[in-house]
């Protein structure tokens, strides 16, 4: 019986440790569960009394901030379409066509993108967008995000596609399909779980980003929520805790909803994983 315990000690030990880590991850967010519903919220943790939606009412009167959410959605969806589409096509090509040096390409692009992710590259990006006459347009934000995220998306996806048997497309071709037909009819649906991971990842990245829209956009009607959230700063430039908390919650809901949806529908995980 004592030995029986040793097996379960490991399990119980693991459970306790996992729970502790879970608590560590949850703690910083606890405040967020209460503050939005507390009309007198401050930085301190307090159970709302009374529980109230008044913060949300105020937030919903701020058209600028609401439009920010809409803009975020526009830009994220746009960016995700480009990243998802571009990365799928490109990774598929990298995986399936006889392009020389295709392994090294993804690594090099990844490194390049690491430079471009830094703020130093915001200047040339601004200059390029300006040269294209696209300053203050959604499409500029969308394209820049897409460009920056694509290398990593391709890095993740190519590995995934490499792991999918080629016999799917081969059988389609033997059945009479052209390569493009085979791609759309057969490969694409099979790749979808991988694309979903990339899409969620890209969405989350764009949804939260501040710098790129900030540099590329000018008019307040186009600013995404990450910028619009500053409208909940007071005259003196300090955050208005109540409204900010409420808005943050609204602002967070789409990514959480997306995550829940995806993990319910497809299971959000790196199927087998990406490996060097």
């Amino acid at each position: 019986m004592t030995r029986y315990m040793s097996l379960y000690f490991t399990r119980i030990g693991f459970s306790v440790a996992t729970a502790l880590i879970g608590v560590f991850f949850a703690l910083p967010l606890v405040w967020f569960i209460f503050a939005p519903f507390n009309p007198r919220a401050e930085l301190g943790l307090a159970i709302p009394d009374p529980f109230s939606l008044s913060n949300f009412e105020t937030v919903f009167q701020n058209t600028f901030a609401l439009r920010g959410l809409w803009n975020s959605l526009l830009q994220s969806v746009g960016g995700v379409v480009l990243v998802g589409g571009g990365a799928t096509l490109a990774s598929y090509a990298l995986s399936r066509s006889p392009i020389p040096g295709k392994h090294i390409i993804t690594y090099i692009l990844l490194l390049f993108s690491s430079v471009v992710a830094g703020s130093a590259a915001m200047v040339p990006i601004f200059l390029i967008i300006n040269g294209m006459g696209l300053i203050d347009t959604h499409i500029a934000v969308i394209m820049v995000f897409a460009g920056g995220l694509l290398p990593t998306a391709m890095f993740i996806l190519r590995d995934f596609i490499d792991g999918i048997p080629r016999s799917y497309e081969e059988s389609a071709m033997v059945a009479g399909a052209s390569p493009v037909q085979a791609f759309f009819d057969v490969a694409l649906p099979v790749i979808r779980p991988g694309v979903v991971v990339v899409v969620v990842w890209a969405f989350v990245n764009i949804w939260g980003s501040f710098l790129i829209p900030f540099i590329l956009l000018r008019s307040s009607e186009k600013m995404p929520a990450s910028v619009a959230i500053y409208s909940f700063y007071s005259e003196a430039g300090t955050p208005i805790v109540t409204l900010l908390a409420a808005y943050s919650l609204i602002y967070s809901l789409p990514v959480i909803a997306l995550y829940l949806f995806v993990s319910w529908k497809f299971g959000f995980r790196f199927f087998g994983g990406i490996k060097a």
Binding site: S167, S171, V174, A175, P189, V190
Partner: protein, 369 residues
């Protein structure tokens, strides 16, 4: 339907030659099995017919058409993949009808035809299911249905049964045998299971390291294996092989090896010419041609009992000789074969195979044609 022929086809991957100077022809309506160990180039050969690999040299013909560089979709072929390659996102009906879909058939017609084929293959009631919801045997039949849904010149099979368990494999094999009999299709069938090849083929191409070593009907391959490689590969359990020394006396051949006693063999004149006393040969006897003997007689071999597997209608008795070589006998009986210690196995001169030092068959008199 059409024939398939290879004209000096070679396929290299980088430095490695996977198929070398292949020149076989598969007649119209023939069911040819490519048989050989893993890595011998079977799949590569098949894929060259399908157009999924391009030969490095030579030509591939289907009927009168040179298809060497033709895209798979234009070849009028069907193929069953080892992993079935059923599309996980389509139900069985759509999977089966896919070749019709890419040819632009209407949804209605496609499904009608899919149902027809599915009914023949006894999966008609599963058409709404997804591939993940059916068993391995049903998956196998679905992939077969997909290959049959559309009339093709040639049907290709790449180890289609290897993922099935023993019983399903047997059942599917019978089914394919029946289908071939019914449709008279031209088929090329890759397998490394000799029983499958024996059961299905009209002709077997036995391959070894990229080369076809024998291309003949199954019983021919079984009865007169062209090389020790074929002898060892075809037959289950494989043929027992033993190095022996040749002794010619009185125009008859005597074989010498420790613990072995053979009756003098008459060999063909041609063979006799090539043979000299003292030459080392290989003697082969199939397990089913060995029986328990009391010992000491001619045409016997003796050794220590190594394993004794009683399995219903037959038993496999294996003895191990002093030189660690093993001999297995397959004894058809449903009695318990109880043995211990030293065992002697006997055989008849009629069932002896001989191979020269290069492994090539030496024709014996009793099989002269």
């Amino acid at each position: 339907m059409a024939s398939v022929s290879f004209d000096s086809v070679t396929k290299r991957f980088g430095d490695f030659t996977a198929v070398s100077n292949l020149g076989i022809t598969i007649g119209d309506g023939e069911f040819v099995c490519l048989l050989g160990p893993s890595g011998c180039g079977k799949t590569t050969t098949l894929r060259m017919i399908a157009g999924l690999e391009t030969p490095s040299a030579g030509r591939v013909m289907i009927g009168e058409r040179d298809v060497t560089f033709m895209h798979p979709k234009d070849r009028k072929i069907s193929m069953v993949f080892q992993d079935y390659a059923l599309y996980p996102h389509m139900n069985l009906a759509d999977n089966i009808a896919y070749p019709l879909k890419v040819r632009g058939e209407s949804q209605e017609k496609r499904h009608a035809r899919a149902r027809e084929v599915a009914d023949i293959l006894k999966i008609g009631q599963l058409l709404e299911r997804m591939p993940s919801q059916i068993s391995g045997g049903q998956q196998q039949r679905t992939s077969l249905a997909r290959a049959l849904v559309y009339p093709s010149d040639v049907y290709l099979f790449d180890e289609p049964l290897s993922n099935l368990d023993a019983k399903l494999r047997l059942e599917a094999r019978g089914f394919l045998n029946h289908l071939q009999r019914d449709l008279g299709m031209t088929a090329v069938y890759v397998t490394h299971d000799q029983a499958e090849a024996m059961a299905l083929a009209t002709r077997i191409a036995v391959m070894d390291a990229g080369i076809v070593v024998q291309y003949a009907p199954p019983l021919e391959v079984y009865r007169r294996p062209a090389t020790t490689f074929v002898a060892n590969f075809v037959g289950n359990p494989p043929m027992n092989l033993l190095p022996v020394e040749a002794m010619i006396s009185d125009g008859a051949l005597h074989l010498k090896a420790v613990g072995l006693a053979t009756a003098p063999l008459r060999v063909t004149r041609a063979a006799a010419k090539a043979l000299e006393s003292g030459k080392s040969l290989t003697l082969g006897v199939r397990p089913e041609h060995l029986s328990l003997a009391s010992g000491g007689e001619e045409n016997t071999i003796a050794g220590q009992l190594f394993a004794n597997e009683n399995m219903g209608p037959e038993a496999l008795v294996t003895l191990e000789r002093e030189d660690a070589a093993r001999f297995t006998a397959r004894i058809f009986t449903d009695e318990m074969v109880a043995l211990e210690g030293r065992v002697t196995l006997g055989f008849s001169s009629d069932h002896i195979h001989l191979f020269d030092e290069r492994g090539l068959r030496l024709p014996l008199d009793h099989e002269e044609d």
